[in-house]
């Protein structure tokens, strides 16, 4: 089982708040990813990183930002949350010649 952790698991917060979703992996993987998933729907890539100090926008436009200062951490930040940001956010990492492994996600609800 892959060791990738996301916190918080659930977050209900008001509009306008700054939010940081945490993602950590202990496998030393260089590549990390953030996906957005609405209930029952497919995953959409919003950010990815190939290593420290590397971040790229994904296929789905997102107002969130990410940083990769350390290999283990890939936090996602929303500067000012809005109801349209309500969704599930999934983090994944990938090692050499391996499939992507996912965390259990953060369910975010903006009131």
């Amino acid at each position: 089982e892959a060791d990738i952790y996301q916190t918080p698991r659930y977050l209900v917060i008001g509009t306008g708040k700054k939010i940081t979703l945490e993602c950590s992996q202990t496998m030393g993987h260089d590549k990390m990813y953030w996906y957005q998933q609405d209930p029952g729907m497919e995953l959409h890539l919003i950010h990815y990183s190939y290593g420290v100090n590397s971040t790229e926008k994904g296929d789905l436009s997102s107002e969130s930002t990410v940083s990769r200062i350390r290999t283990e951490h890939f936090p996602l930040t929303l500067e000012s949350a809005r109801p349209s940001h309500t969704s599930q956010y999934l983090c994944a990492s990938m090692g050499q010649n391996q499939p992507q492994h996912f965390g259990d996600g953060t369910r975010l609800s903006i009131l």
Partner: protein, 111 residues
Amino acid sequence: GESVGLHLPTLSVQEGDNSIINCAYSNSASDYFIWYKQESGKGPQFIIDIRSNMDKRQGQRVTVLLNKTVKHLSLQIAATQPGDSAVYFCAEKSSNYKLTFGKGTLLTVNP
């Protein structure tokens, strides 16, 4: 453009029957495919993968078949159990370690 899609959004089977979940892809240059299982409240879990130089790959109770001629992928689950109930996604490596996911099939196993 690249896309991965599933033929059936839902599949209901009796416990003990075999299940077949289908997936179509459009990028003939794709060389790597993955099946994920996602249970309620969890992140996608890797089931099995296959590279384009193979037609078939077997795991424990699962088999993936790849037909490159018609760009079709299938997941077969033998002796389906209630614990197999979940949403199943196929994913295609689109470019440089990124994956494109299909819409998912909800598998329900009836006791």
